[in-house]
Structures are given as C-alpha cells and as structure tokens.
Symmetry: C2
Subunit: 205 residues, 2 copies
C-alpha cells in the first residue's frame, strides 16, 4: 500500500516517506505532518526547512566533549565560569540537556555517544571512551560524575569506564538512586524503593 | 524552562522549537527527533531537508480541484482514464488520499479545504464551494459524491453543499454508513450499528 495517494516517488511522497522514519511518527502521522506543513507554508514549513538546513550546515559535535553546538569547542567548554575540575559523563546529548535543565551541575561534560551493548555490537572503541581518558591526562580533573542511565547497559558502561579511570586516582561518583521528586511510593518499582531505603538520610526538623 | 539545554535561540534550539509545533510532537519528542536527525545527517537529515525544500518550492494546490501536486492541474485532473462525470467532494487532501487508497473511486475530486464551523468562524466563503459550483456549469458532471467526514461539521457542510448543487439536477450521493470491514459489533457505537441495520442488504448465498 502506498504511503500517500497521488504521485508515488514525487516530492510530497518522498517527504512523507522520510517523515515516517522519524521517531514517534508512522505513515499516518507522517501524512498528517506533511499536510500540516503545507497548510502553514510561511509560518512553519519555510522556517523549519531553513532551521534544518542551518542545523545541518552549522551544528557539529564539540571536539572536546561531544556536545552539539554551532561552535567548536562548544559553549559549555568555552564557558569560563564553569568548573573544569568536574566532568559529568553522559551517554548522549539528550542526557546532557537533561542534566543542564536540572540546573544542579556547573562543571563540564563528556558525551560517550551511547552505551556498551554486546547485542548491538557496541564495544569500547565505538564510544568516546579513549577521548575521556585522554582528557584526564593533564591532571586538571578531580571528579568524574558517571551520569549514565540506570539501565543494565548504562551501568555496565559506567562500571567499565570506572575501571579505566581508577588508575588516575580521581574521585568517581554516580547519581543517587531514590524516590523521584513528586513520585508516589505505590507506583515506584521495588528496586528504586529499596535503594531509597538503604540511602535514607536524617529528616530535616 | 528552556526546551533544549545549550545555546537558547541557536540553530538547534530553533529547530527543536519548530519541530515541537508539528502535530503529535511535544518539546520532549522534538528534542528526540532533533538528536535522531543529527545522528543520521547523511542518511536522513540531509534528504529530509532537501525533500522539504523541494516540496515547499514545487508542491502547490491544484487550481482545478485543490489536490496537492507538483503539476497544475494535478495528476488526477490530467489523467484521461479517470471519469470526469463523477466528482468526489472531500474536506481536505488527507481525505482525498484516503479515498485514493481505497482504490474504489476512478472519478475526479474537489477539495473544499475544511468544513463549515460556526465556532471556528469558517463560513462558505472560506471554503472552495464557489469553485465547486463553477465546475458544474458546463454540464459535464453527472454525479457528486459527498465524501465528507461523518461528524456534525462534516454533515452540516454536506447538507449546505447539497442545497447549493440541487438546482443543477445532478445526482448527489454520500458514503454508506455501516460496520467497518473487520470491525466487531461489540465495539461499534450505537449510531453506526443502527445505520447498518437500517441499510441492511440481502446476504449473498
């Protein structure tokens, strides 16, 4: 069954085919997005095409940390007010953005570009682990925060990275487990609740 | 709260803001789409930017029927094998595509561009109703299929259009109501089941 009605292989059909490959979109929603765009040519489609072309042209991974930016080194690596002694290691740029949104970290980052995965065939050489080790060579970094996902792959990767970094004698920390702020205990998985219990702290009076 | 982490107002931030205005995407999924694109620059992002620019440049509403195509009149209006005596009236191009996918219609189309809506302030002059009436002037059309949505607005629009067309003495038909093919009665709304009962037909032996 063709994705669109008219003119298979035409410009509009090709646009829909490509849109349907975006995460969260299928053939039906890709058609809806294409029509939505064509109904808003000047207000949305033209600016979006321009923003996509500009991003494609200008946004590159930072050669230092792997963040995405129009400048290299990126704005975070160039920011003199940020502490160069603390590196936060994340799996991807989406995680970097999440840590930034928390507003609780004022150090710098290192983006691994994924996690180790035997199933997907991702080994240490496929991630930016060598670059991380290289950044530690000048002794300017005193703490590494391993902010990897609390998944099997994320924690396997964290363990591997921690093993590589250990010889440098740098403090290695990880994110605390616990009850999400605003979270209800009844909806929490048992492992998180157990971790939160073990890490219990004196209540503020 | 900023949509992305770094560089508010930059190319990537602007791309995410625009993506978040697409139907079905919010700030979070727009970020995911942007990262997905940047991880597939050559395989997906460059072709998508090109397809969007090409669609923006070349795809226009057909001046005859309102279909979207790179040619004007569109491929359907130019197709000599299609019956010019039957016009299928639809609300928008997505509905035209849906009828095309059914494979059951070999006439031509007229896209109204929406439906009448007192709440949204859409009157007859905001739809391509005048153009529809104009197309009937030469007497070449012998049947109008009102394939409008089975919603209050769609049926109000169908009623209005039927009233305007009546003086031409052309056959006016609408889509049959009934049980969707593959549908289960227990999940069907009462109105549809009642319509299917009233329109019951002799069973094939």
């Amino acid at each position: 069954m063709a994705v669109a009605g008219p003119e298979p292989g035409g410009a509009l059909d090709r646009l829909i085919q490509l849109l349907s490959r975006l995460p969260g979109l299928g053939p039906r929603s890709a058609r809806r997005v294409a029509l939505h765009l064509l109904a808003r040519r000047e207000a949305l489609m033209a600016p979006l095409a321009a923003a996509m072309a500009e991003t494609l042209d200008k946004v590159r991974p930072c050669s230092v940390c792997g963040n995405l930016d129009t400048a290299d080194p990126c704005a975070i690596c160039r920011d003199g007010t940020r502490d160069p002694a603390i590196l936060c290691v994340v799996e991807d740029v989406g995680d970097l953005w999440a840590v930034e949104r928390s507003g609780a970290f004022r150090g710098r980052y290192h983006v691994l570009g994924g996690h180790l995965s035997a199933i997907a065939g991702v080994g240490p050489d496929d991630l930016h682990i060598g670059q991380l080790v290289a950044r530690l060579g000048d002794g300017a970094v005193s703490e590494i925060v391993l902010a990897l996902n609390a998944t099997v792959e994320g924690q396997t990767t964290a363990h591997y990275v921690a093993g590589l970094i250990a010889p440098f004698g740098i403090a290695i920390t990880r994110l605390a487990h616990g009850v999400p702020v605003g979270g209800e205990l009844d909806y929490l998985d048992d492992g998180t609740l157990a971790a939160a219990l073990r890490a219990r702290r004196p209540a503020e009076a």
